[in-house]
């Protein structure tokens, strides 16, 4: 991370701390969702044989990451249309610094929401079942997902440019990607014709890996390998789009 | 027939302890542009708000196009057009849709409102922009559309509250031309401004208001006359030296300290000669550090009138730069 990116990340974090909606999206809204999903579906899940708070935490972390990523897409679009990007281009800083600055700030925000969500879930009954190393892996994997998802969304923001279009696209990605996954409900609950999609799509694969890291006595290699492959692939796509968009914004 | 389109008598309006209007009276003839000139906080916007039925006066009467603004507010609203300081448009609608909306609210038929909107877009050079949302408009385009919006049904009296604040010089001159054209079509225009140049250039008659009352009224020429004859003007770029120069010249006449120098009433060329002699001596001794840029005889400007009447050190043209 270059010095320029760090300075620009500071700018974004300062801007975020002044927007009440950004704290809402990163901390309060995910906490609210965790509480509401646990309250509403705790009993029916229990009946289905699922310890729901254990099942739910990865889902809520993934959801919070989506909120963060969606706002990063919007900030990226605002930077392009508002001309901040162009202004930074004429200054002696690296071309990629603005994008890395935003990414760095968004991952910091994601870390903040994970830092709020894990203790809250523990209060509701969540326990890390694996060892210390696996638990550290849980946090690390969540942050890796945040970095990749934000890269993709920033690339989308830079490419689409128009704030309204970015908002629309964000919602159209977010709802199916999250709700047609095994994040909130297990794949077997879905209609049989949907199940293959639900099982194999990247959000489910990442949720599998994060869940395995919190659990004990489960195979780690397979889920981690699949999730890593997905994340690497998405990262390449996101970086590709971002690079193209930055070139165009010149 | 020469008719009075706006007549205000002894208007009073107090907000808490602030007296916004303190006995304001004025008469505006049909088909003229009337400039209401005053510093910030003089009561210009309150006056407009009372004339346009937004605010009720505590005391006094106003008749607009023959209707009393408090008793016949509904009729007044039917014959006036208002353009405020900040263009109040619907940003999610296009320019054309905004004009049609305001036309429909002015009770034009659907087709009539559309035809009128197209006509106004053409007249205000907004035909191409008419299909775009006003969100995307520049400041000058917004003002033009805002003005057009107050003309969807040709008003009898048009109120313009600081119509050119924040506009670039080119857009300002374009807007002035449009306002003149409206006047030439028989519309009575009341505009407020804090720009002396705007009042001088545009208004047929000017009222200078300060602390909620009219302190002087007349044509620009009459007001300049009232400020007295010629003045001897000394331009001093360094403002720190102005007071000292003023003291040095105090016995030659009543010296006024201006934003760009000092001035004093001149009886004729002999005053100029006396001033030059005095300064010639002084710069050799006590005023040796003073940099004099120019000395000359000048007809008074509206600025001299304004400063004299409002007793303000505030420089209206400086305010312009700041906005």
């Amino acid at each position: 991370m270059s010095l320029d990116s760090t300075v620009l990340a500071g700018r974004h974090l300062r801007l975020m701390s002044r927007r009440p909606a950004s704290i809402m999206g990163a901390v309060i809204l995910p906490l609210l969702f965790a509480l509401l999903f646990f309250t509403v579906f705790g009993k029916v899940m229990d009946r289905a044989g699922i310890d729901y708070i254990f099942y739910l935490l990865p889902a809520i972390i993934i959801q919070a990451t989506f909120f963060t990523a969606m706002s990063s897409a919007q900030l990226a679009a605002e930077d392009v249309t508002g001309g901040t990007l162009r202004r930074l281009r004429v200054m002696p800083i690296r071309r990629t610094a603005p994008v890395f600055g935003l990414l760095w700030a968004e991952v910091t925000r994601a870390a903040l929401s994970i830092g709020a969500l894990v203790p809250a879930s523990v209060a509701l009954g969540f326990r890390f079942r694996g060892g210390l190393l696996a638990s550290a892996g849980f946090i690390l994997a969540s942050l890796a997902f945040a970095a990749v998802l934000c890269t993709c969304f920033i690339a989308m923001g830079l490419t689409l440019r128009r704030v309204e279009a970015v908002q629309g696209a964000s919602n159209l990605i977010y709802f199916p990607a999250l709700l047609l996954s095994n994040a909130f409900a297990p794949a077997w609950a879905f209609p049989s014709w949907l199940r293959p999609v639900v099982e194999h799509q990247p959000v489910s694969r990442v949720a599998d890996a994060i869940r395995a890291l919190a659990d004990t006595d489960v195979g780690l290699t397979r889920p981690l390998l699949i999730a890593t492959t997905w994340l690497a692939g998405l990262l390449v796509v996101g970086l590709g789009f971002a690079t193209r968009a930055i070139g165009r914004a010149a | 027939m020469s008719s009075v389109m706006v007549e205000a008598n002894d208007l009073m309006k107090t907000f808490g302890t602030v007296r916004a209007l303190d006995g304001l009276s004025l008469r505006i003839e049909q088909g003229t542009i009337f400039g209401l000139l005053g510093p910030n906080g003089a009561g210009k916007t309150t006056a407009i708000n009372v004339f346009t039925t937004l605010e009720r006066p505590d005391a006094g009467q106003v008749r607009v196009a023959g209707y009393d603004v408090t008793r016949d507010a509904a009729q007044v609203r039917g014959v006036i057009g208002v353009t405020g300081q900040f263009a109040a448009l619907d940003d999610n609608l296009t320019g054309l849709e905004n004009l049609v909306l305001f036309g429909r609210l002015m009770k034009l038929g659907r087709q009539q409102a559309k035809a009128r909107a197209r006509e106004l877009l053409e007249r205000f050079d907004l035909v191409e922009a008419g299909a775009r949302r006003t969100k995307t408009y520049s400041g000058g385009m917004r003002r033009r559309l805002d003005l057009a919006a107050s003309l969807t049904r040709e008003p009898t009296v048009l109120f313009l509250d600081e119509p050119t604040t924040g506009l670039d010089p080119h857009s300002r001159i374009a807007l002035w031309d449009m306002v003149r054209e409206l006047r030439d079509n028989g519309i009575t225009v009341l505009l407020t401004t804090q720009y002396l140049a705007e009042a001088d250039e545009l208004a047929d008659r000017i009222a200078v208001i300060d602390h909620g009352r009219v302190v002087a009224e007349g044509t620009a020429g009459e007001l300049k006359q009232r400020a007295g004859g010629s003045v001897c003007h000394i331009t001093l770029p360094d403002n720190a030296t102005r007071e000292r120069v003023a003291r040095e010249l105090a016995d030659l006449g009543e010296v006024t300290v201006l934003p760009d120098g000092v001035s004093l009433p001149a009886a004729g060329p002999e005053t100029l000669v006396a001033v030059v002699r005095r300064l010639d001596e002084a710069t050799a001794t006590t005023l040796s550090d003073v940099d004099i840029e120019d000395i000359g005889l000048r007809r008074p400007t509206l600025e001299d009138v304004f400063l004299r009447l409002t007793g303000q050190g505030a420089h209206p043209e400086t305010a312009e730069v700041a906005t």
Binding site: L36, G42 | M1, A74, R77, V79, V82, N92, L105
Partner: protein
Amino acid sequence: MTIAVPPPARASLLHDTMVMTGRTLLVTLRYPTALFIAVVFPVLLLLLMTASFGTIVLPGQGYRAFVNFGLPLFAVMGVLFSTLGTGATTTIDLQAGFDTRLRTMPVSAAAPLLGRIAADSLRNLMTLVLVVAVGIVMGFRFNTGPASIIGFFVLPLVFALGVVSLVLAAAVRATSAESLTSGLNAGFLLISFLSTGMVSLADLPGWAQPIARGNPVSLLAEAMRVLAHGGPLTRPLLGTLAWAVGLIAVFGPLAVAGYRKRRAARQ
């Protein structure tokens, strides 16, 4: 140039309200976020919640059963969250001085607010019809008579009048559209979830049951289920109407008073 003074245009409550309604609808349909919340959001909820939670909430009963059970809530959520857009545009208009300008025109004083409320109702009706149409494809059925079916559509519109009163009362006092929506958003989420809209009362934890029982969203969802499928109507119907009347009685006057004050002079 003639000096002929044209007869002054006059305010007309009906005409002005219709023009303002048309304007608000036009803006809603053009604003992607508003359209998303009114149209896509409730349909997505219906599709996705049915697919993921349907057989868990109602084990052994199939997805169809959950569509019939959950559809009222998802339609109501579309209505609730759409109201936020009405509030946000009201705040933005007031800040821009749009309503102040209308006051200098021959426009009925009540028309701008009434127009927003009427447009809100029309958009809500659109949401309800759309959700039901998608629901019917998924297996939603009415087993009652025409009067009940009409009631199924009208009751949420009546309740929405209470909600829009609350939202407008907040909107005319809000300093920014963003703070208005983020505050109300959380409240609407709470009452949507802590209700019997998605699970039955017995499936909620003990502490949440009293909240869900009196929650207007529960009452409305239950009343709509009864209006679609039959059952005892009195309690949920009267409960919903009581909430609607109460909200209108409390927040209606607050909205009107705040609106008068706010548009009297800018800022």
